[in-house]
Symmetry: C2
Subunit: 338 residues, 2 copies
């Protein structure tokens, strides 16, 4: 008989938290009791889980010894305080913030890429950043086949990566501007409606943003390869859901576009949409939003580099980039390698 588990969802009223609840349900994760948790602001709110109402509890008063799994997505400062407390009480924390990602003792996991890193953990597991996850899912089959020396990546990231308030901001600004009114700026650092902003998270001393450095640090940690060189420019654009990425890689050995296409077609969690003759390629709105897979198209040999290969990688940043990957980590822990 399938064992069942008690699960806490921290940040249940947020976009990722909400998606975690619905993904646990739709993938029939063996939940016995679910405990959505939040701050004073959201505690007391009623959510639905498996057609039953369930109230958001107060995180600061919750006893984590009651649950075996805690899925955290309420921000790094919340995880900083409560994730170690939960882990100390025997709850396995799957943390979807940047708080523990760069701690060498804490596994950073995309189950289909480095699930084996889950074999050794101390009740704390980190979920990578959304923009890293979709890139690495798509690159792993190529990395395994021919090696990757260097990655130039430019992102086209949706506002949902910055949470529900950023989604509302894009809608409100767009409506205001279309009606001849001024755009009010609150979440994004500039007007995001009808604009492109090359600034996500804080600037680092080397001139890159932290969002860019996440892609550098996390790629190396997940692939367990300090030699891989990554050069990102990350950009927020006026899209609600789904991150797109233009990825230009340099492999260790030659890989033809047709071979790359076949490798990716055979890989789990990837859908190749790539037929220029039929004008087929993935986009955020038409393919990725609300879907689980990472979508890859525009695969072509780089005319500027003998070992270069280009592609266009699109995925739902709330699902595979966050909630789904967290639930897949829990599934891996429960079922073993799927």
């Amino acid at each position: 008989m399938q064992e069942h588990y008690d699960v806490a969802v921290v940040g249940a009223s947020g976009m990722i938290g909400e998606a975690i609840m619905s993904i646990l349900e739709e993938r029939e994760f063996p939940v016995r009791n679910i405990y959505p948790l939040g701050s004073k602001r959201s505690a007391g709110t009623t959510l639905m889980f498996r057609d039953e109402p369930v109230q958001i509890g107060l995180l600061s008063e919750f006893d984590f010894s009651k649950v075996q799994y805690g899925l955290f997505s309420a921000g790094a400062s919340v995880s900083d305080v409560f994730a170690p407390q939960a882990a100390a009480r025997g709850c396995t924390v799957i943390d979807n913030t940047s708080r523990f990602r760069y701690d060498p003792d804490i596994p950073l996991v995309i189950p289909e890429v480095n699930g084996e890193a889950l074999h050794d953990h101390s009740h704390l597991i980190a979920n990578p950043n959304c923009s890293t996850i979709q890139m690495i899912v798509a690159l792993k089959p190529i990395y395994d086949a021919v090696g990757i020396e260097r990655i130039n990546v430019c992102t086209y990231q949706s506002v949902s990566g910055a949470g529900r308030s950023a989604v509302n901001e894009l809608a409100n600004q767009s409506a205001a501007l279309l009606n001849g009114r001024d755009a009010e700026i609150s979440v994004a650092p500039r007007q995001i409606a009808f604009n492109a902003i090359p600034h996500i998270d804080v600037f680092q001393d080397n001139g890159y943003t932290k969002e860019e450095m996440k892609m550098v640090w996390e790629t190396r940690k997940i692939l367990n390869d300090e030699s891989i060189r990554v050069n990102p420019t990350t950009v927020r654009i006026p899209v609600f859901f789904g991150h797109s990425e233009a990825v230009h890689i340099e492999t260790r050995h030659k890989l033809r576009a047709a071979e790359a296409r076949e490798l990716l077609r055979a890989a789990k969690g990837i859908t190749v949409i790539d037929d220029p003759g039929e004008l087929q390629y993935p986009t955020a709105v038409t393919d990725a939003a609300n879907r689980d897979d990472v979508f890859v198209g525009r695969i072509r040999e780089d005319i500027s580099h003998e070992l270069g290969l280009n592609m266009w990688i699109v995925s739902d940043n709330v699902r595979k980039g966050g909630a789904l990957n967290s639930v897949q980590i829990a599934e891996y822990l429960v079922y073993g390698e799927s």
Copy 2:
């Protein structure tokens, strides 16, 4: 006394044509008579030039021997027929379509970059593509100082690059979606509102789009350097005016970010907005739209390549990317090197 010239503007009712008329006026180009021209659809419409009404004439009936300059921006098929006819009648054609750009006998010119190419022409001069112009204006000082081996570029292109109907489409789709209605698709190959489309112009046999190959071919022709390697991914995003580009270059000799910043600050036609500490960088909406300069920020040394340098280049694609550059070509011909 300043000589004056008779000027025809072909495609005067289009977005670039309209901008050409107003730029001729605001820069006080020495126009004697202006002849806005168009198809049957637009002929007879009245425009204003220097506070005087002027009617759009019928292109097919116009006698080009009446003018010394013809600025064409009505599409490649129109230029194909009428530009050689005009040139044969002694009119110097400045063509803002792709029709003649790759003809080795026809100069392809950004005046501040390769104005000297104008010293030898047979009444036909090509204006480069918008996405190439802003990139090359920003890269030329670096190219001259240390050489450039390779360019990885990803574009974030506004819909105005596809003309007025594409601007209307973005507005209409955005309004429809914000009101819960479906988006009607007519100009862009997918829904453009709240989406990113990695497909501009037609696909080529090598898997690149023609928009991407324009950046390859034109960079080489303008810099007169067949050795420079260019790897573009060009993407349309829901921005009305202003193209942005994430440009990752590999130079021949080492150039520090601070040195690049100084080179660009000293260059004509470039405004550097680059202070991460003060969160300063250019964006399409806040800086480029309706301005003449090419704006550069996010200048940083590439952590993945010893000779790498990254930057973010933004410009108004209708002005410097099209109308302004065409007028600047005419100015160069009239005044010589400015």
